[in-house]
């Protein structure tokens, strides 16, 4: 028994070394020492084919490659746990000088790794921590979310809108609140019911959550998820949907009305260019619709007729700074005043938001 296995292992080793031998002459090693050519790493939480969040970031990566001609590498479906630390180190080992990590749960690990590698530039999406060489960046997605709420509020007949949401973190809560304020700006009777999935990417779970909301009487579904699963559930139930991340009309043509969408490319180009010019500095970036990093996707024929005009009006006010979404008076879920009349929430308050506005049905586990 022992001998057999030894023989087996020897053969395996032999085969490997023979293979290595054959290749040596003709094969150039994957570039490992690129001093003059900058290498940029991207870490995604889902597969790039998710048609949503990771897809949008990957579009940004491709745009970066096209614009600046830099070499990029990526890893998809990296869990938001300790594994990401190793993925970052792998990328640095492979020559990456700039790393974009595109999910909230990577934050603490990136902070740790950034301290170990002071020469590498780290950029974390959707968090709040920075170090000397780690920036964070995000977009004011709540602006187009508010606009999408207007579309949903005009569409609903049952006044019951379902919202499939990932995690009970400020980013998601802020989105739900902005959406709800948008809904109730045109339809004060409507309610937004939240269901948590505890995953960013899981087509089946997302769809199931949407189905449950539809069964409870929702006729419009919105989402803070990475796939078109909830929109497909809406389509199957003859209801309507607001997507997220990218224009996903093709995935649910009978239900999709619009979606608040991301446009990461220009920011990626700007940052990598700054690194190339040795002008990069750690920062917190939170761009809004006026910067072009977020916008509301085109309304499809499923959207109500009067939506387009209402959306344009409000959009104009947001763009010229006349209208801030989180302006008091705002009531919380229980009807208590949460934001005084005339007060506008600061960025810090928005970034740590952990309460629902009036009109949201759901619970935040603390």
């Amino acid at each position: 028994m022992l001998k057999r296995t030894v023989v087996f292992i020897l053969i395996l080793a032999l085969t490997a070394s023979v293979l290595a031998g054959c290749g040596n002459g003709s094969v150039e090693k994957p570039a490992s020492n690129v001093e003059n050519n900058l290498k940029v790493g991207f870490i995604y939480v889902g597969p790039i084919g998710d048609g949503g969040w990771s897809f949008a970031h990957n579009e940004g990566r491709l745009y970066l490659e096209k614009e600046l001609g830099v070499e990029t590498i990526y890893r998809e479906s990296v869990p938001e746990g300790p594994d990401v630390e190793k993925v970052m180190k792998d990328m640095i080992d492979q020559g990456a000088k700039v790393i974009f990590a595109t999910s909230f749960g990577y934050m603490d690990y990136m902070e740790k790794v950034s301290k170990e590698y002071p020469d590498i530039k780290f950029l974390h999406c959707s968090g709040y921590k920075t170090t000397e060489n780690m920036a964070n960046y995000f977009g004011r997605m709540y602006e187009p979310r508010y606009l999408s709420g207007i579309v949903a509020g005009l569409k609903t007949k049952s006044n019951n809108i379902g919202y499939v949401a990932a995690f009970e973190i400020p980013e998601v809560i802020r989105g739900i609140n902005a959406f709800t304020l948008g809904v109730r700006s045109v339809n004060p009777e409507a309610k937004v019911t939240v269901r948590w999935t505890h995953t960013w990417y899981d087509p089946v779970k997302e769809k199931e959550a949407a189905k449950a909301l539809l069964d409870e009487g929702a006729d419009v579904i919105a989402q803070h998820q990475d796939t078109a699963g909830p929109q497909q559930a809406a389509e199957e139930a003859g209801a309507f949907a607001v997507g997220y991340n990218t224009d996903s009309f093709d995935k649910a043509p009978g239900a999709y009305m619009t979606a608040p969408i991301w446009n990461w490319g220009p920011y990626y180009v700007e940052q990598v260019k700054a690194v190339m010019d040795n002008k990069w500095e750690s920062h917190s970036y939170w761009g809004g619709m006026k910067d072009g990093i977020v916008e509301l996707g085109a309304l499809s024929e499923n959207a109500p007729n009067d939506a387009s005009q209402r959306v344009e009006e409000v959009k104009e006010k947001i763009l010229n700074g006349e209208f801030n979404i989180f302006t008091g008076p705002l009531k919380d879920q229980d009807g208590n005043i949460a934001v005084e009349d005339g007060k506008v929430l600061t960025d810090t308050e928005m970034l740590s938001m952990n309460w629902f506005v009036e009109g949201v049905e759901g619970k935040i586990e603390k």
Partner: protein
Amino acid sequence: MIILIRVLKKANINKTEIVTIRLLAIFLALLTSTLFILFLGHNPIKVYLSMLDGSFGSVYRFKETIIKTIPLVITSLGILVAFKMKFWNIGGEGQIYMGAFLSSFIALRFSEIPRPLLLMLMIIAGIIGGGLWALIPAIFKAKYGTNETLFTLMLNYIAIKWITYLQYGPWKDPNALGFPKIPNFSDNATLPKLFGIHIGWLIAIILVMLIYIFMHHTKRGYEISVIGESENTGRYAGMDVKKVIITAMIISGGLCGLTGMIQSSAVNNTLSVELSGGIGYTAIIITWLSSLNALLIPLVSFLFAILVQGGAYIQTAFQIPQSAAQILQGLILMFVLGSEFLVNYRLVLDKSKTALRKGV
């Protein structure tokens, strides 16, 4: 005419035949993988080289390969003790998680006590956690003769869900603004490094020797082997079968639990549902391929670590999707494991009409 393929166990196994079968398996694995890589639009030789490059190409990569080897070795040793007794412990995964759970409890609650003491307590807690989790099916097997394969498998799911519950509930880091993660361990609760790699490698080497001595040169180890061959023989020879089953399973689960402790302390620095990611299952294959020989386990584990580390490397080096890299690993595994079958059995074409009656 009915043509059936019959499976016959080989009476005596011819050495040259074994070598031929294994060579053929590796050749077929490489051939199929080659076709798959070509289908993906890459140069197969480059990809294979790159897997080796990703495992050995730099000091960092070599260290990573060793770090991946350590948990495989220790868990496989645990599985080996159970398998020697023909106790099919499929529960390594759950035992890893329960070991990690108990040692994390110590790490989080007593984070500020002196480092050597804290680490010792965590090691003991890890062993107890895994050992107790393995004790449950062992008692049921010893007392009521329940099927341990299903029992241990089901306990895995309970263990993983328990960790999920902790991560999303009582152990959620209050500083993470609602994001479900368990707080990181303090520096005191982190295993030290020796020659640049956490000290788990030394623990693994010592354990390989200890388990080898235990299985081959102690009374209890001998009893485990005898009972594995035949429980009745053991009983007639006056062995306390129940006691042997229970001791063996505590050792088996304890080793898996120790893996959980090492992974949470040295590698992840916290507890999470992704902690093991299948080590408990991979260890079963490794134990089997090592022919239940403790001294071979480090070698086979190392080969598996190359497969995992190299597989991760080619994802970024060639932008091969994660799922495709996993298919490659799966293909290689399937052929190697498949050849095991042909080493021990042979297929014959049975053209007789009585084939059906004889059964297959």
